[in-house]
């Protein structure tokens, strides 16, 4: 771990993989929010599973401080451009910073710490995406209703985000982050480490 500073190659890799992650996230969230309020609430956990593979590759390839923060900032900016509720970018950036410190508080970055960081990052993202429906209800409902979304849909959203359900959703986010991380590690071992492209301790 001598070379802690990020160089141009790391920046480029982060940019490319973040673009990929964001597109996967957009496609899945679009499909699931169209299907109905019940699936809409559960989109962050579903997104976490394919994104886990990408994120594990990114962390394995660039095990340095700042990667998660850059990733969170860029995804947050893109979410802002697309017109998401402003809570999501804040949660993404905060999650990135927290997970960066979590990973970097250790000397050696192992597969386990990567999975833990990804799970927490995803838990915070889930909270950022779903939390406002409960905690900033008036603002969120006003913004959504003004957008012309059907009243039935909003009622569905409100009734599904009671406090116990919210805990279940965030737990699902954490769990899905963990599962996505495990899947990512499995894929890394199966394809990338065998090909000699990356190495994980």
């Amino acid at each position: 771990m001598n070379n802690q500073k990020l160089n141009a190659k790391d920046f480029i890799l982060t940019g490319v993989l973040t673009a990929l992650m964001w597109i996967i996230c957009m496609i899945i969230s679009m499909v699931m929010s169209v299907l109905g309020p019940v699936t809409m609430v559960f989109y962050p956990p579903v997104v976490a599973i394919p994104n886990g593979i990408v994120m594990m590759l990114l962390l394995a390839k660039v095990p340095k401080r700042g990667v998660l923060t850059i990733c969170g900032v860029i995804q947050g900016l893109l979410f802002l451009v697309v017109g998401a509720f402003w809570f999501i970018p804040i949660a993404l950036v905060l999650g990135g910073v927290i997970c960066d410190f979590l990973i970097m508080s250790r000397k050696e970055i192992t597969a386990k710490s990567m999975i833990a960081a990804y799970a927490i990052f995803n838990g915070i993202f889930t909270f950022g995406a779903i939390g406002p429906i409960k905690f900033l209800r008036t603002a969120y409902v006003a913004a959504t209703a003004k957008n012309g979304v059907g009243q039935e849909y909003i009622d569905g959203l409100i009734s599904i985000t009671s406090v116990p359900m919210l805990i279940v959703i965030i737990a699902a986010g954490l769990l899905a982050g963990w599962l996505g991380g495990l899947l990512g590690q499995k894929m890394l071992r199966k394809h990338f480490i065998k090909a000699g492209l990356v190495s994980v301790k």
Binding site: F11, V81, K146, N147, G148, L197
Partner: protein, 254 residues
Amino acid sequence: MEYITELIEKNIFCGTAVLDPRCKFLMLIFIGLASYFINGDLTGILLMAVLGIFISGGNGMKWAIKMMAVYLLISFLNTLLRYVAIHGLSVIMSVFGVTVLKIIPIVMAGRWILRTTCMDDLMVSLERAKMPQSVTIPMVVMFRYIPTLGIEYRMIRNTMQIRGICDTFWKKLLHPLTTIEYILIPLLMRCLKVTDELAASGTTRGLERVNKRYALHVVHFGMKEYAVMAGTVLFLGGMVFLDQTSIGTISLWR
């Protein structure tokens, strides 16, 4: 030598397309923010029309007309489904229609910006705005890479089809994890390869330089840009304000 200089100096973009990249991206962010608040039929169409005219002034006429047609069609269908109430379908369609209607202006402006901005100019202009390299390089690479991802994806699908892997809808639906693996892993392999090549080509051309950069094209946030920004802010503010008044509730399709 003469020919090369001529080639470099010849600018294929004209009109609004030669505005400073910073100005264009700020515009995109403002449009994104405003599009979240503009919901009326009339105001939405007005926003699209003005944006379309603006884009037509800079090498984007065809694209603007295409997006405008799509917007009108979806707006019409969306309102139609609100009156012809089909249980279940109407709710789904309302969410879908609203999401698409929100995103169309952003996609329209975004693709136009991607098409008419040289990434070198973007890099220089972001650096002059005192952004750190850790933000500029991923940003620039990302904007460059998003269109490429589509091409890569199509190539992978073709290869899969030739070999008969996951070629039917049912196979995809029954084995979601396998499908993800088959699509994502080749894509990631490609990403790694492209990254290596890009990094080599970038560093040899001085991507990591920390000194001041110079650009062939004029990159300057001047009076024109300030005027455009002021116009954008005033127009979008006006639209949001109009949306609050009774004009926002006028329904165009009856």
